[in-house]
């Protein structure tokens, strides 16, 4: 039923003093929407660059559509990856960029592209250099959508887009995906906004994959119980606590796992409030947990941040 089209095994990416990706093992299946979530500098763009042969892994194996993507037109022609910091030729207007994309993607839908231009109110006859950040993002979004490549990456596609335009993008993406199913990887740090789009979630932090699971499993994998301190504490017993916060006598505790029907009733009787955890909360908790071991060493943390910025600059 699910056909794997991307496989990464033991992929490392090392820069001189920084490991940008560490032992990545990943499988992506056909016709699914993936969320690649993580903080800035976590390694999202590096990972996508390696998958599309725009960048190189230091070691490990990458397999896309059954083959190594590097210099492999058979594989590359089925992929589209417009990066967040995509550069366009200096003298190009948006219409030139779309014309170029039409030359290379056999499924390019020009009417769809023009419709999107209208939706995003993108000026076609202005140099891309002179566009605003949001308009620049729109150019990338339109190429990504209208190319209808079998494997499409969106790298923080919403930067600079206003709320209306972002919603437009999500709607158009879902509509078009329903009509032309394909594999989509959406990298994002605005998690709540894209949460409803995602079928599968990959969380990456400091170059490591810390979670790779179906969105439904994740939604059911944790919940928050809140109420007065003593009651909550006695209710949770020795369950795994992901997070604990309190205001005065009230505490709110995020638990791993699910409650049985009986436990739910019990919670209700105790006057406790049980609510699902949002994907964003879950990612934040997971990411902070993963980083917790490092916190005692503030100096190394500071160094790490410095390197991360440097890496960003040369990317």
């Amino acid at each position: 039923m699910s056909t794997p089209i991307v496989q990464m095994s033991n992929v490392f990416k090392r820069y001189r003093a920084l490991t940008a990706l560490e032992d990545i093992n990943l499988t992506l299946n056909q016709d699914k929407i993936y969320g690649l979530l993580g903080r800035n500098g976590a390694g999202k763009t590096t990972l996508m660059s390696i998958l599309t042969a725009q960048g190189f892994a230091s070691s490990g194996h990458v397999n896309v559509f059954g083959e190594n993507p590097y210099e492999n037109e058979k594989v590359l022609r089925r992929i589209c990856f417009i990066r967040e910091s995509q550069k366009y030729p200096d003298d190009f207007h948006a219409k030139h960029a779309f014309k170029a994309a039409a030359l290379f993607y056999k499924n390019w839908d020009n009417d769809f592209a023009l419709q999107l231009v209208k939706d995003f109110e993108l000026p076609l006859n202005r140099r891309i250099k002179k566009l605003s950040r949001g308009q620049l993002s729109a150019v990338g979004v339109i190429i990504g959508l209208a190319s209808r490549a079998e494997l499409t990456f969106f790298d923080e596609p919403y930067l600079g887009l206003d709320a209306v335009a972002r919603q437009l993008f999500y709607d158009r993406l879902l509509d078009d995906y329903a009509e032309f199913p394909r594999t989509i990887v959406l990298s994002s740090h605005l998690i709540d906004e894209v949460a409803n789009l995602l079928e599968h979630v990959i969380i990456i932090d400091k170059g490591k994959i810390i979670l790779d699971d179906d969105a439904d499993n994740i939604r059911g994998s944790a919940l928050t119980v809140s109420g007065t301190g003593a009651r909550v504490e006695s209710f949770i017993g020795n369950r795994t606590v992901l997070h604990r916060e309190g205001i005065g006598a009230l505490v709110s505790i995020t638990l791993e796992g699910q409650l049985s029907a009986g436990e739910r009733r019990e919670a209700q009787e105790l006057g406790l409030d049980v609510s699902p955890v949002s994907l964003q909360q879950f990612v934040i908790r997971k990411t902070l947990d993963a980083g917790a071991g490092l916190e005692f060493d503030a100096e190394s943390q500071a160094k790490q941040t410095k390197k991360a910025t440097r890496m960003g600059a040369i990317r």
């Binding site: 210099e71 990066r83 030729p89 190009f92 030359l103 490549a149």
Partner: protein, 230 residues
């Protein structure tokens, strides 16, 4: 459609870069040269020379730089292999260079036939080249343009891959080699021999030399590009 050909078509999407600007440079430098010649009083001394014919060639150097540094990252976004990007871009340039070379030869003949555009000027039919047959002239112009283009292209590739540090090291290395060569020639007292060798050069031999250098630059650019990232 072949994707290398598609790369060439992509480079031509904005007609100005590869066609409009060279045509404009050629026309305006030619018109300005004619205007200047018209202002200089005719003397019996001989023809009036102009180096304005080179203007387009230097633009090709800039074009090599640009087509690499700006179009390569975009081509990567469209999932074009580095090989096809190289073939399409250099291939397109070879066609443009061939057309411009042909134009130079024809303009050179016209210049001679019209007695320097009626002004006794020499811009295209510089004697050293114009003495040769048409094929040799075309070969000379073509190779020279390819050389300049590939020089720009290679430089941009080095910059793309190793940033300013790489560029600096490459320039220093080149300077060391050149100074070393000058030093060696001076030390061994080879200057007279070098002088007579230079004087003995014909467009044919210079062309061959430039061809060798261009091929070297092309191969170097391709190998550097193979591992370049956008």
């Amino acid at each position: 459609m072949n994707r290398a050909v598609a790369v060439a078509r992509m480079q031509l999407i904005n007609k100005w870069t590869f066609l409009g600007i060279p045509a404009l440079i050629l026309l305006s430098s030619f018109a300005l040269t004619l205007a200047i010649w018209a202002m200089i009083p005719d003397t019996a001394e001989g023809a009036k020379y102009s180096g304005a014919g080179q203007a387009v060639m230097w633009y090709f150097f800039a074009l090599g730089l640009q087509s690499m540094s700006l179009t390569f990252p975009f081509s990567q976004g469209l999932s074009i292999s580095r090989r096809n990007f190289f073939l399409g871009t250099v291939g397109l340039f070879a066609v443009v260079a061939a057309v411009v070379s042909g134009l130079y030869v024809v303009l050179g003949y016209l210049e001679t036939a019209t007695h320097g555009w009626g002004l006794n000027g020499q811009m295209f039919a510089l004697q050293w080249i114009a003495k040769q047959n048409g094929f040799m002239q075309m070969f000379f112009y073509f190779v020279l343009m390819m050389f300049l283009f590939l020089l720009g292209f290679w430089g941009a590739t080095v910059y793309k891959r190793w940033q300013a540090t790489g560029m600096l090291l490459a320039c220093i290395a080149l300077a060391v080699v050149l100074v070393g060569a000058v030093g060696l020639i001076t030390w061994r007292g080879w200057w007279p021999a070098v002088g007579s060798w230079m004087a003995a050069q014909t467009p044919g031999t210079t062309g061959l030399l430039a061809l060798g250098l261009a091929a070297l630059l092309g191969a170097g650019a391709y190998l550097t590009l193979r591992k370049a990232t956008p």
